[in-house]
Amino acid sequence: MPGLLAKERIVAPPDFNRWLVPPAALAIHLSIGMAYGFSVFWLPLSRAVGITQPVPCPADMSFWQRLFATTCDWKISTLGIMYSLFFLFLGSSAAVFGRWVEREGPRKAGFVAACCWGGGLLISALGVYLHQILLLWIGSGVIGGCGLGLGYISPVSTLIKWFPDRRGMATGMAIMGFGGGAMIGSPLADILMRHYASATSVGVWQTFVTLGVIYFVAMMCGAFGYRIPPPGWQPAGWTPPAPAQQAMITTRHVHVQRAWKTPQFWLLFTVLCMNVSAGIGVIGMASPMLQEVFGGKLIGVAGVLKDLTPVQRAQVATIGAGFAALLSLFNIAGRIGWASLSDVIGRKRTYFVFFTLGILLYSFAPTAGRIGSVPLFVGIFCFILTMYGGGFATIPAYIADLFGTRFVGAIHGRILLAWSTAGILGPQLVNNIREYRISHGVPPAEAYNTIMYILAGLLVVGFFANLAVRPVNERYYMTDAELAQP
């Protein structure tokens, strides 16, 4: 009798309703998607010792001493390292454990992801309670980051096998959850922190414990909701398209160990990396960019941001935060929208649209800023964010089309290293160029123009990488003997 988590245990009966699988995937992705919303903890954690105000560490205290100090507060920049750890360990664990996920099945992967993400939050709670930043980094960043990677790829292969007729839509639904997780998690964390806050605590460790338990339960429900289709299963009334009609969709399979030797792997890696780098660059600077480009115009008064009163600046900051919120909505809408559309127009054409429109929109954004049109400026970035989300959601189906479905989860895991690369490349590029331009006397409002043109340049690279994608060469496909092996 196979174990409770074994792949053999979750083979669905022939009359199983495949529409039960996407909610299971969503339960996991909505939980791990909270990683995007972790910044909600930075301000309260920056006064975890002082409670009402941050207690700065002595100036002569070394970096290592600060790591273990319990009498002074953490800087927001120190806390922000968590995001780098998320990106790094998400991509690395997806790449390293992708094949294991494929072999052991989605239930075991979801189970381990729940333990890592929920358990990581509990370790972080201990870190906040003892005021040890290393425990926070190890708990949520390293262990939780591995949970992100495993949870992210856990449903991909299963969904593609359940929805061979709508691969894009199926993975788009799950990956939409990753984009939407922070929408639930951030306000929930805010409510919980206010509930737990007292004269002696900012309420963060208690919030971590509560969220850890909630996410663990939700992810377990998802993991135990996963079912894999029985061998030879196909949707009722659906017949696979003939290979000649769909040259870009293979019916064969490439082994994960061979996939990275194909040019297609590196082309898709570049496509994802460039699309994400440009998008992450925009997300990170969206709020300050709107405020600095339009300044007082956002609240109907004249003057640039530095000329405004503190009250006016607070009003402008609220609008900036609203802009960031609006972008996150378009990000998740793009995930399901573009991925579904890719089922109709094809994956290569979808990325062709992303890169062509992206280049035009990024290049036109500075003009929209110069002519002072807030609606046009906001509209451009909302549309850009749909394509950022769409890029994430469409890539699993693109991989399945080119490399087959046998190792799609494992190959997707390896290609997600592009995300880790972009997570470092995008923000670094944007921040360094902005600081360089401002240090050379360029007004803050205009410093963004060069950034936009450079981000458009990244999309040009992605455009040509996508254009070069062709079906995989025959010699890379698995033989019948290889396919017969378990």
Binding site: F16, N17, P23, A24, L30, G180, M183, A236
Partner: protein, 39 residues
């Protein structure tokens, strides 16, 4: 290739409601933050 049972569709509705309610709440809260842009 067999058709799904009717009882499964009830389960599908329950499962989607369970994930849909928190997602809808999150979208509502986000819209509340974003609305300042249009005031």
């Amino acid at each position: 290739m067999t058709k799904s049972r009717a009882s499964d569709w009830t389960l599908v509705a329950v499962a989607w409601t369970l994930v849909g309610i928190p997602l809808a709440w999150g979208i509502y809260r986000t819209l509340q933050s974003a609305i300042v842009l249009f005031k």
